[in-house]
Symmetry: C3
Subunit: 267 residues, 3 copies
């Protein structure tokens, strides 16, 4: 399969259909995620009040649940939105930010995975390792793990029965059988807050236009990372210059750029 070509085509589909991405995400990245959604060609909505969850998830193309600044009230709202997403069978992406750092985050993530129809789980190596029962350690929102990231994705997918993406220097997406490695990116991504959360926004957009979740996620991570490479080539003087160049690059990203640069391999 020509993954690079598909990645480009999916970007085209996102731009053509402008999927509505209902985010229940953390306060830190709300502005960034909304901008990234707009730049990639989707429409963002940030909403978290229980009273409007069913309605908002009822018109969304994808639901993105990010537990970065979780509390009890939001958990209830997330559950209402996830219930609606399940009924409508729209994609539901779970980003368990900080799972492993506190039991609130770990237990809530595990419960969500058991009780709701999550389409894809996406996290860094520490988060996925902890949730999948592998060796992993999460310190705040940093993490380390002795596990191989490709294995963590695979084991996670086996454990939860859904595709899992492990992001990092290289990204891995697996459904337990097929595992894809995405070798694009820039070291600058690690210098700004929320780069993982914004990757989830792009994944949510691609999941809205492609049923094969592994393909959608790998394409999205590749497109996102290609934009970071383009931004790095502008030789930014620091993280804030990089962020400006990166967001600009996401907006200017064409299917052709993605296809030319995407490095997606089966492992």
């Amino acid at each position: 399969m020509n993954y690079a070509q598909i990645a480009g085509q999916l970007l085209d589909k996102v731009r053509a259909s402008r999927p509505l991405l209902h985010h229940i995400t953390n306060y830190v990245v709300m502005n960034d995620n909304a901008n990234v959604a707009l730049h990639i060609g989707a429409a963002p909505v940030m909403a978290h009040a229980l009273e409007e969850m069913a309605e908002m998830a009822g018109i969304a193309s994808t639901l993105i649940v990010n537990i970065g600044t979780l509390n009890q009230e939001w958990i209830v709202a997330m559950e209402a939105a996830m219930t609606k997403a399940g009924q409508r069978q729209i994609p539901l992406l779970l980003d368990p930010v900080g799972a492993g750092a506190t039991s609130l985050r770990t237990q809530t993530s595990l419960r969500f995975l058991q009780q709701y129809r999550v389409t894809m789980l996406k996290g860094n190596l520490g988060e996925i390792s902890v949730l999948a029962g592998l060796d992993g350690k999460v310190r705040g929102v940093d993490s380390e793990s002795g596990a191989e990231p490709s294995l963590a994705a695979q084991k996670g997918a086996e454990r939860f029965g859904i595709p899992v993406a492990v992001t990092g220097k290289e990204d891995f997406v697996s459904d337990g059988k097929r595992t894809l490695r995405i070798s694009n990116g820039s070291h600058w991504l690690g210098t700004i807050t929320g780069s993982g959360c914004s990757a989830a926004t792009v994944m949510g957009a691609f999941l809205a236009v492609e049923k094969d979740a592994v393909l959608a996620a790998a394409s999205a991570l590749s497109a996102y990372s290609v934009a970071s490479e383009i931004a790095e080539e502008r030789q930014p003087e620091g993280p804030a210059s990089f962020k400006v160049a990166f967001f600009d690059a996401l907006y200017r990203l064409t299917p052709q750029m993605v296809t030319e640069r995407a490095n997606i391999q089966e492992v």
Copy 2:
């Protein structure tokens, strides 16, 4: 009336008096709105706890209520602040973000309009159309409507008995009798999140220095849009570069620049 000249003079008054803008606004744009307030020459305060609403609205020059990330707790706080604003007869600007997308937002907006002394209602065409009972559709925070924007502003003003601003490619402000069209702006404004919310910040600043709310709102929207034109002339490479240039331009904006470029016409 020389609207362009008045617009410049009002910017001067804002800079001279540094009005305190009490925002109860959504999480997505809080940082942007605070910066825009500073850049235009006002002082922002973001506060939403019920316990301090009366005190904070009690020292504010203008109260700005934005329902972009509404929940029950915030509604109660908004009501306390609006009550105080009404007692003090300070300007109260309502930005019904996402009205029409969920009944929580639609019903809350309508109730606020009925029960409180709102000075001005400001929204995009879909939001105002829905609230005014015209044909309109809101999808998340996007919207469409079959209504003419100038008519929507006029009908909204008639229905609620207060001036209404409809923002878009061109902006319209009407009190039902007089309707002004503001033909300034940049396509880049649509590529960043919260550009409508930040317009409300500038409107709040101008409402603090000018009792004729139609004049204040039209002048504010023109000044805001003139800054976007100046930013566009810098040929930004994407939305993030535009945003930097735009915020810089708001800060450097002079009354003379506004007067030279403002395009405000009675329709």
Copy 3:
């Protein structure tokens, strides 16, 4: 004591140890504070749910409590985190944003200072003046005071029995006996929202690596302000360009740059 040299050395220590900074901070600045923490070499975590406060404060290097968007629920969470910080004897920095503007903020700040083991109190002149019982006035988050800032820091330290930092054009840090003046900075800092809150982030990082809190705070404020000077030299066209250059400069800041430029004097 060669304060400039120490300031550089402490930056080196921060970079070497990557302290975890648990922020309970306001919505407006969460993204900025997280980025500033990363750029200076620390690891940020933003968390505020009562259920995870003890755990999160239990792994943090420093706890930073900022009351900029306070409500009752957050007060309870702050208290749980401060209790844990006290038990673990980790640095606890209190930033009483807007104290003096409402009694919620003033009374909560005073109670926190009485009931918890605050390591350092940091605010602008108005906030510290009000809390220390001096002549001061706070309007939203602006402030004015008839007090001399060095005296306000000293009086505050005497009153609360802990070191106090007063930030402004020049910054002052005092433990009541020793008072240091930091004469670095840029006028551009006053044109962006949250520059004081982000200074607290850097102070929190330095407090994690140096037990002498006056020394740590003065070094941090100097390093932060040196970065603003470097950014100003790039001749930014406005506040947003400045912010980009400033965040870049924080990231590129070296111990040598700090030592060369730091202007810290005993007064």
